[in-house]
Symmetry: none
Subunit: 212 residues, 4 copies
DNA sequence: AATGAATGAGAGTTCATTCAT
DNA sequence: AATGAATGAACTCTCATTCAT
């Protein structure tokens, strides 16, 4: 393959990460070998290890990266308007966009790899990922609180359980809509987007103030 | 180890399958080797291949098996009462029980391994699994229809999208509650069961007739 | 290569061990790959791992094996006579024979791999090796004590330092005579055996009672 | 890291060599990577190859260097006095000092890497190393001859075999005392220095004239 | 002279699978 | 039916080395 052209260093890191994400999505993390990533990205296997200490770090980087993007998406979703329903729709839209750009994290969050507290030797990336997660939760908590204060959302919903269960349910919704896209289209007769949209609206009804 | 006692053939198949499921639960499919299964089940590695053509078939068998169990659970959930809300609660309870007994299928259904229509070379087990899935959907459709007819459920909900989105969201809920059990307990301050229960009730509100 | 003929199981273990020893001698432990051993022994790489858990265990097995042989040699050397000088000569001869049969241990004992107390997580093989080493030292201590009591050996030699220094010096002698065989022949003009014999006699003079 | 300050070229070569030796001592040759050497020495990996053709040459350089140091040590040991026993003690002390400074060569001389005549494609460094070895042997031969002529050493010892066997035995002694330092302290109950000293005195008795 | 970047080759190890018995 | 024995292929990761700059 010969030597590669000189490009700013981080370009390669990003190339590798992007390729890895693509493959991880298709075949899972365990199902994707470093060789495959290398080949698809157009580098030698050894080069991957120049840019990432090991596979774990590569995964960690992807999760962090996607978490950062998600945070930005959520921020934007809340910034553009103060109207509760619009904000909710924006967040849902953000999640869909995010899933299209970084389908990887959802996969991860719900699969074996836990960014959880059962082990204690965290990579720096993992810690940072966790911190951003907290920031996101904070923003969402504010959003819900303001919705309640406005009278747009039911006053009797417990905030933290709501956040966490919504997060779980939306993840389930998005992931399924991705994995079973064809099935949905064929069996239910609606395109993925509409399916998602229906799910999100259903969920909103569950927390909207009764006047709706 | 010597030769084993003569037992009806299917007993061994079941022994192996049960052991495999246990291990798959603990360490994932990719993380479990045929060797481990053989050892834990008390057979030789080669014997596994007498009862299952390969690992894939073993997985397929487990999925089918869990699907059958789920069908039974759902049937029972609907049989015991005709009251809509009670039936709903029963189904939720059935899902939780099922997740505890066969955590395996949820993992599978939402993870990399798709029992989807993108490929076409299905194992017989996969086809059968799909057929049972259809039967389950049918029962649930009946349940919703009856709920609507009773006036317990909103008249304006489209049945198929509701089934499928509920299925997705509940899966997300259950899976997350399983994976992040510690996190939920620590950060939200409620036990897993309560978290699940809260999620299920929230969802019900979204389809219950307004009088609720 | 196809499947191999059936032979009693331990034969393969021994085949592999023997081949490994040969290669370790020629190129050192680190310098010898499992692939090489497999190829030379006529097995597939994976088969090595059927018979030995890993490279470390293979090395441990070789060391233990050679230690056991050494013990037998020493025992025999002391058994055949009670005359001190004859016993000494027998031990030396045993060492030479041993070095020819199991050149591996000397290499090891004096090289990086210490069967020492700096680490604490010993393999079972290592512990057993150590135990046999102790038994050898015991026999040699008896031999020296009897030599002193007979008046054949100097009364003023401290036993333990003598054992250990003799052991070290003889190892140095034997190893060098092996590694620099050609050099010795060419530059000193005597065959290896004579060189060794001269070294051993020189050492004996150092502990023999003055009457000699 | 940027470009380095301009320094006379050989300084870098020496820096690298010194660092390499330190690491080789700690972790063995095979256990030390060029990367490690580069990092510890504060150069880029590629720079090592500016100063040494490859790892082999770096090793060869170190051996040569240590050989030169040994020659100087031996010269000094013989220069300060003409008394045979004092000279012997000086040489022993020189060897110990040398082992402390350059533990590397002993390791090498008795281990896998032979600077022997079995192969024929010598590096220039190897040839030079050999030449210095010869010079050392010459000095030692003179020393022994003078000892015999003085009547301090036995008249019946063949000089070349004595030199070579002493060399081997002392190497064995020093190496063992280094590798098994803890063992000696714990099991024999004397510090390393005393152990060495005892070994050297024992050896001297073997060649000293009987009057002793 | 010095280095960042890249890599071929190969290390030890594991795994699903096969086959003779 | 059951298995001991064997293996090809793959895995993650490391290393000495090279080359353009």
């Amino acid at each position: 393959m010969g030597r590669r052209k000189k490009e700013p260093g981080s370009v390669h890191r990003q190339n590798i990460a992007d390729t890895a994400q693509e493959l991880f999505m298709q075949k899972g993390i365990e199902g994707t070998s470093m060789s495959e990533i290398a080949k698809k990205a157009g580098y030698s296997k050894a080069t991957l290890y120049v840019y990432f200490k090991n596979k774990e770090e590569l995964v960690g980087f992807l999760v962090l990266e996607s978490m950062e993007k998600l945070y930005t998406h959520i921020l934007n979703a809340l910034k553009t308007t103060r109207h509760t329903k619009e904000r909710y729709d924006n967040i849902c839209q953000a999640l869909v966009t995010y899933q299209q750009e970084y389908p990887f994290y959802f996969q991860l969050a719900l699969s074996e790899i836990n960014i959880d507290f059962t082990h204690t030797d965290f990579l720096p990336e993992e810690l940072e990922t966790f911190r951003i997660g907290e920031k996101i939760n904070d923003k969402v908590r504010q959003f819900i609180q303001e919705g309640i204060d406005n009278g747009d959302l039911r006053a009797d919903i417990p905030i933290m359980p709501t956040i966490f269960s919504f997060w779980s349910m939306m993840s389930g919704l998005i992931l399924t809509s991705e994995h079973k896209r064809t099935y949905i289209q064929q069996e239910i007769g609606i395109p993925q987007e509409e399916f998602l949209s229906y799910g999100f609206q259903t969920l909103y009804r569950a927390i909207a103030a009764k006047t709706l």
